[in-house]
């Protein structure tokens, strides 16, 4: 159910009344998506997971919030910022394609969906095209900026960075510090000398991950991988005496500054409404720092 206050606040009530000649033509979700498609720098391709997950394209936009993952907390934060279009890199409903066929009777699915409907929220999944953005993958762009690595990017390979020489342990601490990452995990010798870094922010499967590790790099940095494929390969490389490391940042922290870049990008061609980036807090704690920060702290 749409709350009457939200209807008025969103301007939808005025549009229906047609009594505000001074008001500019309304901006719909569909208008924003059309502009995004023409500015991504590459052909908008069919398939993939990018689509409206909840809400409709004809909704009038009151504000835009970009975020790494449309968690319930992130949705609440979007409402507090008066943004009703949430552009999310990761799913809203707990699977990559946001498949809800098995969730129709799930109480949490119903609660989250009802919250979105009550607040007129539209969730748009922007995953594939943000990675495909040209000239540089939008996620990579934001992460390089956050790490202060833009000047170290290999001109021949956008995922490769040549850093001033350091150690694997020191590089891990740099990630802890710059990303607020308390629970990152590392495979390899802490004293390993590292300079050449390959990134695959987010999830990395066995392939291309194995090829990334076998490239001319000292360390592969990713968000998450399965223990029995890519992590196992890194373990075996180390056991075989190769001088390699693997850093596992956690998925959200490994990509979310790319959605800050997305907010800046949207500001460039959606001047009508406020665009806000909603940073998320690391979902986990570990025994070194057992803190609870995910619950509505956004």
């Amino acid at each position: 159910m749409l709350d009457r206050r939200d209807v008025i606040a969103s301007g939808a009530g005025l549009a229906i009344a047609g009594a505000t000649p001074a008001r500019a033509a309304s901006l719909t979700v569909g208008d924003v998506l059309t502009r995004m498609r023409s500015r991504i720098g590459t052909e908008w391709f069919p398939g993939g997971v990018d689509r409206i997950i909840a809400g409709s394209a004809d909704t009038e936009v009151t504000g835009i919030a970009t975020t790494m993952m449309a968690t319930f907390d992130a949705l609440k934060a979007a409402v507090a910022k008066r943004a009703n279009l949430v552009v999310t890199h990761e799913p809203t409903f707990w699977s990559h394609p946001d498949t809800v066929s098995q969730l129709r009777d799930d109480p949490l699915y119903r609660t989250k969906l009802a919250y979105m409907q009550a607040h007129g929220l539209v969730s748009y999944h922007l995953h594939d095209h943000w990675h495909a953005r040209l000239p540089v993958d939008g996620i990579n762009d934001g992460m390089a900026q956050q790490m202060g690595w833009t000047r170290y990017r290999d001109p021949a390979a956008q995922r490769r960075y040549i850093l001033p020489p350091t150690t694997l342990a020191a590089l891990a601490r740099e990630f802890q510090h710059k990303l607020g990452d308390r629970t990152l995990r590392v495979v390899g010798d802490p004293a390993l000398k590292v300079s050449k870094v390959w990134e695959s922010w987010g999830y990395c499967s066995a392939f291309p991950g194995i090829d990334f590790l076998d490239n001319d790099v000292d360390v592969l940095v990713i968000g998450e991988a399965q223990d029995w494929d890519l992590i196992a390969y890194a373990q075996d490389l180390v056991a075989a005496g190769r001088r390699k490391g693997l850093i596992l940042l956690g998925h959200v922290l490994s990509e979310q500054w790319g959605m800050k870049t997305c907010a800046e990008w949207l500001k460039g061609f959606v001047p009508e409404v406020k665009v806000t980036w909603l940073p998320l807090i690391e979902p986990y704690w570990n025994l070194k720092q057992p803190v609870f920060e995910i619950d509505t702290k956004l």
Binding site: M69, P190, G223, W228, I231, A232, D236, L287, K288
Partner: protein, 262 residues
């Protein structure tokens, strides 16, 4: 006494699980000649290079592993033809006449679930009679539970979602990989906390966060795959000794694969 072959032992092991007749399974001989005479059995959580070398050095040439040796759930060798590490691992197995057998589905399909039974034994927990993955413990906090798991499983890098002060007493487990389903259903069930090895951050981790944000009193513990199944394979080695007398059976432990920076 006549030599016993890998195939004979594998057939005996599969029959003893009582979990045969599966329409599909990842359990298979991943490397080696099944007619090879067996000198000893090395049981392990994952056939990583270091553990295989330890097994070879101990003269155990039948490796029985829960997780695969070639970096994919179904030992898919596509892309690996020209991989140097693949060749190195294959050559190690060949040089020692080793047979690598993946025992995953049948061990979890055993009644009761062999991984859950072994983990419960290592933890000193008593499962519900009807469900080897559901435990009722004396009430404690989520933090205390995480500390107990860390101490008993030697797990330094486990990660937790939820309030460390959350009171927990009913524990659901999905050792190893927890897929989106049943992971979501387990969190939505009677358990205060779900303990698993690994689960995708964009699936069950997000669901757990959302349950908490919606007011649910829930927690989620990610042990890491090795810590979440090792005791289940240690238990498997003990179980095999009950019906394999011809050759020694030994469990090979592996250290945690990763570390946290100081």
């Amino acid at each position: 006494m006549a030599d016993v072959t890998a195939l004979q032992l594998i057939q005996r092991i599969l029959a003893k699980t009582g979990a045969g007749g599966r329409p599909q399974t990842v359990d298979h001989v991943a490397a080696g000649d099944p007619t090879q005479a067996v000198s000893g059995i090395a049981v392990m959580a994952m056939a990583d290079l270091a553990t295989l070398k330890a097994a070879a050095a101990a003269g155990r040439n039948l490796a029985v592993t829960y997780d695969p040796g070639f970096w994919s759930g179904d030992d898919n060798f596509d892309h690996l033809e020209r991989n140097a590490l693949f060749a190195e691992k294959r050559d190690l197995l060949r040089a020692h006449g080793m047979v690598l057998f993946n025992l995953h589905d049948h061990w979890q399909g055993r009644m009761p679930d062999g991984i859950a039974a072994g983990m419960a034994q290592a933890l000193g927990w008593q499962a519900e009679a009807a469900n080897p993955n559901l435990f009722h413990l004396p009430p404690m906090t989520l933090l205390a539970l995480a500390q107990e798991l860390s101490a008993k499983l030697g797990d330094r890098t486990l990660r937790v979602v939820g309030d460390p002060k959350l009171p927990v007493a009913t524990i659901a487990t999905s050792f190893g990989n927890a897929a989106q389903m049943p992971g979501i259903a387990l969190l939505g069930g009677p358990a205060d906390v779900l303990v698993c090895g690994y689960t995708h951050e964009w699936e069950v981790v997000e669901y757990a966060q959302d349950m908490i944000a919606a007011g649910g009193k829930k927690g989620l513990v990610l042990l890491g795959q090795n810590a979440s199944v090792s005791a289940g394979m240690r238990y498997c080695a003990g179980w095999m000794k009950e019906f394999i007398a011809e050759v020694p059976v030994e469990f090979f432990a592996a250290p945690e694969p990763y570390w946290n920076p100081e």
